[in-house]
Amino acid sequence: MKHRYLPMTSQDEKDMLETIGVQSIDELFSDIPEKVRFKGEYNIKPAKSESALTKELAQLAGKNADSVRYASFLGAGVYDHYKPIVVDHVISRSEFYTAYTPYQPEISQGELQAIFEFQTMIAELTGMDIANSSMYDGGTALAEAGMLAAGQTRRKKILVSGAVHPESRDVVRTYALGQSIEVVEVPLKDGRTDIDALKEMVDENTATVMVQYPNFFGQVENLKELEPIVHGAGALFTVSSNPLALGALTPPGKFGADITVGDAQPFGIPEAFGGPHCGYFAVTQKLMRKVPGRLVGETTDDEGRRGFVLTLQAREQHIRRDKATSNICSNQALNALAASVAMTALGKEGAKEIAVQNITKTHYMKQQLKKSGFEIAFDGAHFNEIAVKIGSSVKELNAALFEKGMIGGYDLGLSYDELQGHMLIAVTEQRSKEEIDAFVQEIDAFVRETEASHA
């Protein structure tokens, strides 16, 4: 059977076999021992034509409730934000998406320059000296920060705030297991890292203290108070940060962070059921040679023209092998490009405006919930999420909201025993006043109904 991706004709095949000097393609596989040779064909679904397959997969996609048809109030690390339409047009240029790692700089200047610009934008937003070309996601970037800190300080303990994303904490633990590093959780106080507890916990074995800014509950951590405690113990200060929030919030670099990591998904990258997103990794100048992953640097050719190359490669697995700073090879280059385009489109003013809109709309949500008598779990400074006490089943509430065309928030009871019956609500710039009002009205009605049925 002919296939549109396979150009070989039977005449080609015949000519090529003759050149090789064999009778059949099978002969080329004669080095596979009889005992392990797979006979016949895989027992998998038969091939489908282009139109039959797109029809089937469109139907499968149609079984999922997406954030275009439903108004989403779900965040918890992945957000429904404005995606400038230019983003998809840029990353659909196949010179970008069908290339691989730019090992040949003369024919990869486009990719290299785009990454150099990404590194600059991330450094600008985070207030750090430099950023790398990307990591898999925010969770693994945080884990790599822990590994860097342990190597740099030669210490074997990581303190991670309980207000760091639960799944990121899980990933940190798995990486730490491999390196026999101890991970200890810092307790919470009013939805933020308990500073007094931290003071007691840091010691001469602490490689790093990890906090999230804004944290998992949307609360903005007090980095200014945390920093001297961390550095006082000789540990590195690691901040995991939503870069979109940094359009309005003082960047971690200003507060003395040594490593700032996070996920650039809020900048133009679809939710995509959790991936691929785009981790970033930013550090102070001092840690430049310890960074995992690829770095692009500026240089010149023999005629003095500016150009870009992969640089400081002596850190990386293909050169240093078992002594590399990380095993990362493929990263998230195309998504870093998407984030760059979104950051460019928003630009200097838009980056602030979008962040302020998130804060403002979340504040409005909070006020409306309070007016309806809801208890807000933590009342400190917030970014675009708040934790609200529902009292009854968050799962049932979400089912009720879904009936009204809304995707409700995250059930905090799934990750925090003490927060059973609490919902983490995200309000991005995508949510209109109308949608917020409808949401508050629905959860109010749900809670009243539940109370009435229990009375």
Partner: protein
């Protein structure tokens, strides 16, 4: 091609221009300082560009023209499987029901996505011959580390704490030893023999009761099938170690030999290679891991299971190594790989491997008279030439790679694997036509002739690219890793 620099996007900035469209704020404004406190309110803007939407498109279009992808031309980069990236994959991954769904939505609202993941796992189980598959790892190296962590957990669960060593061949990809280190192991190298295959005697010498695993690609990085695979498996299993399959080269053996049948205990796949990811300029990839039954308890959690009520994520996995990534892997890439597998079907995947191997052998035979061929036997999907002969004439493999740029080709992988002097690793893939292969072969032969007759043209290559060879030493000695806005005095 014009050789003018494309300015950095920051250099195109003009105050007052914007490239975005946000809705007017429809709720009451707030006083940020009052709400957050003075310390938390950012004082200075982040210096992001200020450009119009057309500026953005022109800039990135200009950058794309300074980049070579598979759609631009032949890209025989060995070990990377730079095959055609089907456009249907791109369309399907953008369906709103796949692109715009949240990983923490109620499971009942994402059953279609979970069904796709489940069915992809089933297909990958059949293709690899393994008992279970996780889609969580984000890329090949991530999959390697995940697999090694599971092997470690397996040994430790058996009270076996002395297995500290992972064996890799001298021809292994750099991620193998790097992943072993991250998983807490020490790396031991096993030598290749004169045929380019793992030296069984050396393997017997390095194995022992401290062996955790042997990591292999088969075919290996020379493109040669490890014929003694069953004996190697037996050597490793006899000492209680596990056999790890690096799936970077799976394109060579689909429907011909399955890792599970060769005795492998763990396998990772690179969905952005064999299964048309695409490569994205360096990623995102996807690196699912398959295991034999005895390693299933250690798979990263959650596990996707099928019940009478539908698909669900099972978090109750007490022996799991834990999470290796937030959520469930690079779903968007997995959608593309699934679309590809369903496009090809069983007969298509078999032809993929047959043509990939046919193409590689054809090129190898036609190029063999002009370059050194260190291992003269049928190759699989790729082969390695040596530039020893040309080096004696003062031209290095790097020079020849740069000269290929003048012909519009992406060069092969060079100086890898490490056990071949002046190596050139060529992987044509099955999606290239005979005409493309012939044109590339002609260019290679012409370059070989130039080396003898006019070496300067090769040594000074490239001549036609937007930029000449760049000063990499300068880049590393005084690293400039970001743009700095000039101060007023400059």
């Amino acid at each position: 091609m014009h050789k003018d620099n494309q300015p950095l996007i920051f250099e195109m900035t003009k105050q007052g221009r914007v490239g975005y469209s946000l809705p007017e704020l429809d709720v009451p404004e707030v006083d940020l300082t009052e709400l957050l406190g003075q310390d938390l309110v950012r004082e200075e803007f982040a210096e992001l560009p200020e450009v119009s939407e057309l500026d953005i498109m022109r800039h990135y279009t200009a950058l794309s023209k300074r980049n070579h992808g598979v759609d631009s031309g032949f890209y025989p980069l060995g070990s990377c499987t730079m095959k055609y990236n089907p456009k249907i994959n791109e369309s399907v991954a953008r369906y709103s029901g796949f692109a715009n769904i949240h990983p923490l939505q109620e499971e009942s609202t994402v059953q279609g996505a979970m069904e796709l993941m489940y069915d992809l796992q089933e297909h990958l189980k059949e293709i690899t011959g393994m008992d279970e598959v996780t889609l969580q790892p984000a890329a090949g190296a991530h999959g390697e580390w995940t697999g090694l962590m599971m092997i470690r957990a397996f040994h430790e669960a058996n009270g076996d704490f002395k297995r500290t060593k992972v064996i890799v061949p001298d021809s292994a990809h750099g991620t193998n030893p790097a992943s072993a280190t991250v998983a807490g192991f020490e790396t031991v190298t096993v030598k290749s023999n004169e045929h380019g295959l793992v030296d069984l005697e050396d393997l017997k010498r390095v194995v022992g009761d401290d062996t955790a695993a042997l990591m292999l690609t088969n075919p290996n990085t020379l493109g040669l099938f490890e014929e003694d695979i069953l004996e190697m498996a037996s050597i490793i299993h006899k000492v209680g170690g596990k056999l790890y399959y690096d799936g970077a080269n799976l394109n060579a053996v689909m429907s011909k030999a399955r890792p599970g049948d060769m005795g492998f205990d763990v396998v990772h796949l690179n969905l952005h290679k064999t299964f048309t990811g695409p490569h994205g300029g360096g990623g995102p990839g996807s690196g699912p891991v398959g295991v034999q039954a005895d390693l299933i308890p250690y798979l990263p959690k959650p596990i996707l299971i099928k019940t009478d009520e539908g698909f669900t994520f099972d978090y109750n996995r007490p022996e799991s190594i834990g999470r290796v990534k937030p959520f469930y892997g690079n779903f968007g890439i997995n959608v593309r790989a699934y679309t590809y597998i369903r496009t090809m079907g069983p007969d298509g995947l078999k032809k993929v491997t047959e043509y990939a191997v046919l193409n590689a052998n054809y090129m190898m035979r036609r190029l063999a008279p002009h370059f050194d061929l260190p291992y003269d036997r049928h190759c699989k999907h790729e082969f390695v030439l040596s530039g020893r002969r040309q080096k004696k004439l003062g031209v290095r493999t790097l020079d020849m790679a740069k000269r290929l740029l003048d012909f519009g080709y992406h060069p092969p992988t060079i100086y890898f694997p490490l056990n071949v002097e002046e190596g050139m690793m060529i992987e044509p893939t099955e999606t290239e036509s005979k005409e493309t292969l012939d044109d590339f072969i002609d260019a290679m032969i012409q370059i070989a002739r130039e080396v003898e007759e006019n070496p300067e043209i090769v040594q000074n290559a490239p001549h036609t690219t937007v930029i000449n060879r760049l000063d990499e030493t300068k880049a590393a000695r005084k690293p400039v890793l970001r743009y700095q806005k000039p101060t007023d005095s400059e």
